[in-house]
Subunit: 393 residues, 4 copies
């Protein structure tokens, strides 16, 4: 295992948070992940619209009264006005349906952004956010978790190096089962399950929540671009999709098979990616993220383990815990943030940075997710016809 | 575990074999499977077109010279002419492309047939064979292996009893990797790989060889009927398909996702079926056929084992070996034959039998496989369009 | 995979059976295993002391009245008297407590023997049987099943070739759970569970039934000889042992750790052997017998599969079914018998045979098992002291 | 899943650290674990004897110059002298051989202690530390990691509730392989591998490093106390043990079987505990810590998952991440610290606390580990004789 450089210098990065109060699971994940490396400090926040909750959270996190905002617009303007004394980036953990507004406001105030996925609901919105960030040379990260796992990065580099040869088949699934008790088989939307309600999730539910993880993961690991796709989208009445099968054709003519479901009894977060090439294959499961099944053509399958010396790609050096101990979910987030912070440090120290050379999911990946959701839902709504991605730009 | 009746009486069943000489793997499997239960005797055969090989095989198997035929047509006529003194059924293990001719000849001579899959290449041929068998009230079995595994039968009965509720999603894969070294990326057919040559396999290769096992297994276990399907069919030039993804819509609107491949490095016979219902799920893998993963909605997944007393469906009684010892491939064949033989015994003893009440794959299942292959290949050849099964009747 | 020679010629071998009637599981296994290769014919038998059952079994198996014996002593004498026209070997599937008597009678009548394990109860008996067989140059096989599995043979040859280097640690377990409901916690012997009754099992229960499989398997695979051992032997009152832990020290000073149990809830036949050497390790589980986990020092673990071309030891050629399809229990028995039959064919054709060059478990292995049981029980009865195997000769 | 209370109030806990500089793996783990819950602040430290390293670490962690100590004795006295304004506890991550001295110093200065395992080398030392802590009513935690995993706590409570009935057999292993390349087969100690050098590890290597984890985990989960044990201890010459098998007899007469190794090729941190009771069994592997295999007698094995609603013991509420996402190593540490901090908060707020009611490993557990090491090594040095734990008090 090569040692990867972690942080070049000890410049501290200040961040603020919108959403992510004490009762938000994902907010705590972002903070915990950022704390694993000693590079950042949370200096301000607007954690909840509820004033009491906002205050409680600020106090718990040691945010001084001055730095606790009741309005995220105010926070964006105030921190932006501080210039180099303001936050270096904002972490956005609000409900999905206001991602777009919050992101835009911070970008317009010149503040780098890291936003939870999905980036937003509409393609036009996503394109606009990408454009603003680019124009202002701002960093814009979108936290697609799974690209952060160390062994996912190892797979990506093995494929780049040619370890499995030309890819000839892709198979990915992401089954969950939590929605199975919530489905209403009549024509109505279950008001207590916000994820099946278009108001809060946009046009797609399962495809938006977990299908986009498949799309992003395949693109990250293989570099393949989807040319067209065809989808069966299962839903009850006006409720959103709960079980989707998606055939994809990449621009090079190779095919992929995606399945996502939230009604698969006994499967919890069963994300599994399998990539078959002319010279070998790679398989990875999110349940057991420290291991990759690797088979060279004609040889016996091997179980590669994170942290082992026989892994000879650079990414292997990013392992945090000795082989055989499980790293887990927080480390995946922390790995994304490690690269975000490295990029921000370069920018802070040099005044500029080429964000593209840093390995973290960006606004363009968020845009890719939004386009994917629209294409899948369109296909499902039109008799599962094949649709070209170029019609969703 | 309830004890299932095995054989009602000890009437012996005589059979002959066409093909299946000493260098045929599958011929040996049929004979071994039949020998596991003490009900049958091999009394005649036409094992090879090569006279030397035919003689060697006959001698090894203890077939007297009188009962060793050099021509299967002659065998069909001679055994048919013997009436009740002739064979009770013929087992056909020839190359696929003559299945139709051999089956037809034996049926026309009034002899019950068990034929390897695929039954034949053309839908019309399959329908004709079904019709002849029905008209003459002859038993016609087609050895789709996987429905013979004891735990597959247990799953079928659990679903029938309602253990997983209404089915809402089906996911089945059958990856292999043996073809990966044989593919010719130019436009030609590899002459040494007969399975990619239409002359010997009909129009489909992977779909015919293993895709039909998926189709049959789902139908057997769930009873679902395909309404329409859409397929990506990967091939090189004039060679036959090596990797297929198939979305299916059953007649009740539920969707299934099938993947078969012969170029998936590291997968050998990775048949895996997963059936999700509103109240639970069932998963089975051919590699480890004695186990089923069963999850009731909201409960922890269970690993059911063949042969255990907690299995309370009738099929569980068909277990042959104590729980924890592996039964394997021969037992699956033997389980199919157990029911074939029971049906033939009833027919022999009573002069008639309702074959439908016996659990073994029949000519109609073979017909279903031929229709499936044609539909998949048609879709693949027509830009992966959706095709209705009713257009392939 | 090298092709192994199967049978050199087609000489038929005739065998008789003692015990193993229609309601005996193991009798059916022996017959099925013998039928998988087309080399043997069952020509006579004494299947049950119960005349009705004996007759039924004889009829079912096609044994003519002349060849159905009501007394195994008579069978031994009659078949022995026939000389070359009698049976070539007898298969003994009686209850354990008469193994010794039956084996001895057939040996004394000049008939080769294959006997189920345990060979007998007392060390002196076992030595006597070995001596008679040797003196009369008779084949004497004892069916320790697990050495028959193809991948066990592959492991043995890999170790012989040095693939894992010098062995430094051995860990083997064989947990079952069937006895857990039968234990009587008072001081009495449960009369309905013959396996806990010394009359029928000798002095050891779990150690005799499954512990001896561990002892035999380690010896077969590694060649290691036990110098001394120390055991905790759990029992209730006068009943026999149900859970045993055994530390062993081999003659070269290396240590092994054995555990066998019949009260381990959820474990059915969990035989698992793990052998660690200075250059690598091998692990095998009986549940999934077609696979071996192989790790070279410093490399990723590999999952070797039976039947694959990358297995380059001679034993790999003995695979019967294509890789990825499960062979199972019958094949393990058939593999033992394949070598027994090869040895008998050589003897029949040449008038003599060096049985030692054939790979099947022999009377000496049976003796090793009896010694092991006595040593373990002695240790358990003497405060788990260390005992030397040389005191059990 | 019941919701567990996490923190009752938001009292902040201040801690200092001895050892655990930037190049110490375990120091970073302690800090990361403490940061996952927002209850503590690192306020001072003495991270390295090397002044440059100590300064670098202090700067990186935001420790002001005043609070960065070059001498841990000075730190103990200074912080002790501050009384309620000093640190609430010290976290000791130094090399093992100075644990005793550092612990004692902080205790004597009235400071609560959390120390890495092993607590110290000698039984007398461990007893002394226990006595001082008790006399001064100081909290004394020892970070045996594995008792922190959520599903380990679930198992413990299931056993307490009687889910598997009376325990009848225990089987635990902890194989690693990192030492396999370092062994020197001559008579010398490898100077580059400090873990085999008695100066740095005390008398035991494998048994001290990982064997004690087995001992602690069994005691934690089952409550069983060892009465006597017998061990094979493999070593080369003057080097320390690398592979140990240990039979234990608990005070209730039940037996356990422990195996720890650092030369088991292909095993990285393969800690696996299996507990068999009269009514069921529980199995857990450290590689996949979110899952427990649970079998009720006579039922199919279940795979319990952390975070699922069907887990109805209180401990289940301590889950941090949704079911199906992996928690990992940091969470195990954080779970230990959660209870340490709860205890310290109670003490800080009320002036006293009954530490025994809080679930974290304590100095007495550290003492238990030291006694276990001495007993195992004694047995190994005395022909693997049985030794009574009462002789190691």
């Amino acid at each position: 295992m090569k040692k990867c450089s972690t942080f070049t210098k000890m410049t501290k990065i200040r961040y603020g948070m919108v959403g992510g109060g004490l009762d938000s699971f994902i907010g705590g994940v972002h903070r915990a992940a950022l704390s694993l490396d000693v590079r950042t400090a949370l200096t301000c926040g607007c954690f909840s619209r509820d004033e009491v909750k906002n205050n409680e959270c600020g106090e718990a996190l040691g945010i001084s009264e001055d730095n606790l905002y009741s309005d995220w617009r105010e926070m964006a303007r105030a921190e932006g006005a501080k210039g180099v004394d303001g936050i270096d980036f904002v972490c956005i953990c609000t409900p999905n349906h206001i991602h777009y507004d919050v992101c835009k406001e911070f970008l317009l105030n010149g503040i780098n952004v890291v936003c939870e996925k999905p980036l937003c609901f509409e393609i036009e919105q996503a394109k606009e956010l990408c454009a603003i960030a680019k124009e202002k040379n701002l960093l814009f990260g979108v936290t697609y978790t799974y690209s952060g796992y160390n062994m996912v990065k190892v797979m990506k580099q093995m494929i780049q190096r040619g370890d499995i040869g030309r890819i000839i088949s892709v198979n990915v699934e992401y089954p969950q089962d939590w929605l199975i008790n919530e489905l209403q088989r009549d024509d109505t939307v279950n008001p207590s399950v916000w994820r099946t309600n278009p108001k809060y999730t946009g046009i797609g539910n399962a495809v938006g929540d977990i299908g986009t993880h498949i799309e992003n993961l395949v693109h990250y690991v293989t570099g393949l671009e989807i040319n067209r796709l065809c989808a069966t989208v299962d839903r009850y009445g006006k409720q959103l999709d709960y079980n989707d099968n998606i055939l994809v054709e990449y621009t090079n003519g190779v095919h992929g098979n995606y399945w996502c479901s939230q009604v698969a009894a006994g499967r919890m977060n069963g994300l599994k990616i399998r990539i078959y090439g002319e010279n070998g294959s790679l398989e990875w499961e999110q349940h057991f993220p420290d291991y990759v099944k690797f088979t060279r053509r004609g040889e016996a399958p091997q179980t590669l383990s994170r942290g082992c010396a026989y892994l000879d790609v650079e990414a292997a050096g990013g392992s945090r815990i000795p082989a055989g101990h499980p790293e887990g979910f927080y480390c995946a987030f922390a790995n994304i943030y490690r690269n975000v912070v490295n990029a921000l440090v370069e920018k802070k120290e040099t005044g500029k940075a080429d964000f593209d050379k840093y390995d973290f999911p960006k606004a363009e990946d968020g845009l890719g997710g939004v386009r994917f959701v629209h294409a899948v839902i369109y296909s499902g709504d039109h008799d599962s016809c094949w649709v070209k991605m170029s019609d969703f730009e």
